[in-house]
Symmetry: D2
Subunit: 275 residues, 4 copies
């Protein structure tokens, strides 16, 4: 079983938690604990061999923790997700394939697209595709339509797999720490709309991609994973976009794998990742 | 303070150890625990904020552990090392520089060379250099002379920074899990004497280096760190050797940093590295 | 247009070739030339802006080259390929997706499987799947059946995307430098059947994958691309296999991209890659 | 011999240049040519086996080139350099060691420091150290003193190995494309003074370093090389600085190796690197 706890730090938390687990004869096979001294914040992830009664365990553990503690025991092993896309196929296709072969660590409930071009690939994998255009409606109405679809599926996470519309604070606030984005640059370099054009003009030798949770600050949410890929003088902007897509697929896959295996804590604008 | 424990696994070890630490009001700021199920082996590394009486703590902790347990509390923060070399300067110079600026995490007691070419660089850093030739003497006598020098310094570790003689089982047995080597290949590929020539002839696209503890099996000791560097068709064997040296410096520095910060456990032919 | 030439080296080859191109008013926008002194072998890859009459150009260029020279002008821009698989989906799915979105640089004619499990994913992408079992027939008959299918499609390359049968010298000889394999290890380490089990037992810190042309020497053909991925003590053999699959997909995609963009020369057991 | 040419592009340049070399019986063993279509700019680097009369060759080659062409034949194989530093030792020490063992591809003439702390390490390698403080004097006077020292050595390049003062446009203008800097961030992210503090607060998962030629735009000169190193939540700002130093050493070494082996062209704010 897996136990995840985040709380204010104080002496004795590990002892308190592990004593309860030992009493239940739960053998701890992997434990990561970290205290962020800047925030006085305690994070722990425990893997134990056997299972036990979850509710009783949580009740017992909460008694040794500060009241505000976040506790999650045996989170749903296969997350339910909704994927949102625009026109680019590369991240979506990678997720669809992993979903098809049960290696995503999550189950795609549906895909929402603000364009129709990716409907076909979803149909090939028998995944429901909801086309919701942003063109006729106000942003409020557009987002309301998406929310209605999302609520029908009750997902754990929303994955923005190259969804190219900026979401409103109101929308984001409905899914705190539950929206995962792939950003087409090595944040904070080249934040904003045309990172590859900027990268080309600057003559950089590496381009990167960043997967992060979405918050109200555009391109400023807690970073989950980042990777880079080498480029050189011979790369046109189009070549950089092509290389960028390869690394975007890789970074998003990595970030989702970490989140879906319950290895990522979020606090304020940062993550703690027990990889 | 730092607590390192390795033992047979059983239920309740984390609880037992952390209860003792909590009783001493030691706040655990970083904890890594891992159980190797193949060997039923328990490994833990704990960083706590304050210090306490070490002997009392060890005595208390041992009471909750299996008798054969390995326990190390606050290992010497700055390790004492002896460096052994032959003719190549690159790894030695990197270690000498870090030693000079107190960023090695260890203190070089002396350098032993079976050739004299590296005496000059040692003198520049005022590090004693002992020239012990392997040429006139039998291996037994050669190693005996080295042992005598080594014993005079009582080092925690012996670092083979491109020492190109094979050490006898008798010598190795005197320093179990205390001799660290840098091997000029991505083990287990190209084990043996001329890895770069082999790599050139095979037309590989990556070459690597491996840092490992030395055991009696040549090039077979527990691996601490490995890295690779890209090569291509335009590399001659000499170019590969040059590229290899860059990666050798980097891998050895990484391995030493891990060992000197007490992050590496050894058991049989493997390491557990809490990076 | 693209010009590829490989021949015995001699003074004046670049001058001879480029003079003919200049006479045709072909502006060279990218040129890579390399002479392998060990083999006295000349390799050149030229990209020019315009096109011209190909046959006339080849005739003119051949007059300045040694008679045995290999010359290829404007090779088919979209290669035709046949993919051979066994049971593992990961490399095949990546190729199918790229094929679907016209970013593979090749066009998949069909997939041949010696098991049926991957028929479904092929059908989702409307790619013909030929199930040819190796079980009832002798290897000679098994391969004959595959050849018959392959010949029907006249492919430029055969891609072994985790095809787990060893091909006979007779089969390989029919497609010299045209069969591309992905090998589940960082060759030459762990050649043979169970690389991840070997890697686990050795306790390595990196695992790799190798894409190479297939020759009669098992796992010994000319290497096109190699990559590695970090692993650690917490990886079981199954975890290593999982990580290995990620890197296999990546290396095969890289190798195919290089081959399909006409950047790879083969000579004896090595490649020259103008990346 | 090595031939480097940069000019406006037009049809026939390769043919013109290579014909002259063939006439001299110079066998071209490695050639890289690239045309930047955005700028209509031609770059070529040729390695030939033998040598010939350089002046005669340059005269002949210039006749087939546009008048503004940059031509460099057999540039000084071992560059003369002046190194400028402030207080941090890591990049300087790496350069001093390579210089000592003749593997830098350049010869250090002297080190200029605006603090005295690095005088000792220079003396260990018998390299002249000039202490020029920026504290009492105006920037103009400070830079004048440095120029006077520099002029005494007539260096090919000035290497800023963690020199922490911003140089004036007047100073920079005296050494166009000859001042090489190592910047402590992955430009353009975190340009300016405290990149690691910014990186810590942003919670990035990679930090990088950039080596570039210095121009009047602060941190905006043509980039030669960039690399990154992974970090995580457990890194304090001090840990990031430490990791950053490792990657700074590596990037600067890489950039210097490229420049000193005559593989880097500069045009406007970009480089062409024939690696």
């Amino acid at each position: 079983m897996i136990v995840l706890i985040q709380s204010i730090d104080r002496v004795g938390l590990v002892a308190g938690i592990s004593a309860i687990m030992a009493k239940e004869r739960l053998n701890i096979v992997s434990l990561r604990e970290f205290v962020d001294k800047t925030d006085n914040r305690f994070y722990i992830r425990i893997e134990a061999e056997k299972d036990t009664d979850i509710l009783a365990l949580e009740t017992a553990i909460r008694q040794v923790l500060p009241p505000e503690a976040y506790v999650s025991i045996n989170p749903r092993p296969e997350k339910k997700i909704v994927v949102m896309v625009t026109k680019e196929y590369h991240c979506l296709a990678d997720i669809l394939v992993r979903n098809q072969f049960n290696t995503l660590g999550a189950s795609i409930q549906c895909v929402i697209g603000n364009h129709q071009v990716l409907q076909n690939i979803c149909e090939r994998f028998a995944i429901p595709f909801h086309y919701i255009s942003h063109e006729q409606d106000s942003k409020a109405v557009f987002e309301e339509k998406m929310e209605k679809v999302i609520e029908g599926y009750n997902p754990d996470y929303i994955v923005l797999a190259k969804f190219m519309r900026v979401l409103s604070p109101a929308f984001v606030a409905k899914y705190p720490e539950r929206i995962i984005n792939i950003h087409h640059s090595f944040l904070p370099a080249f934040a904003g709309g045309h990172p590859y054009k900027q990268a080309f003009e600057r003559g950089v030798k590496l381009i990167g991609a960043t997967s992060h949770f979405v918050t109200n600050e555009l391109d400023e949410g807690p970073i989950i994973a980042q990777q880079v890929i080498p480029v050189n003088h011979s790369f046109t902007t189009a070549d950089m976009i092509r290389a960028g897509k390869e690394i975007e697929v890789s970074v998003l896959a990595k970030a989702l794998s970490l989140v879906f295996s319950d290895r990522v804590f979020v606090y304020r604008n940062k993550t703690v990742v027990f990889e």
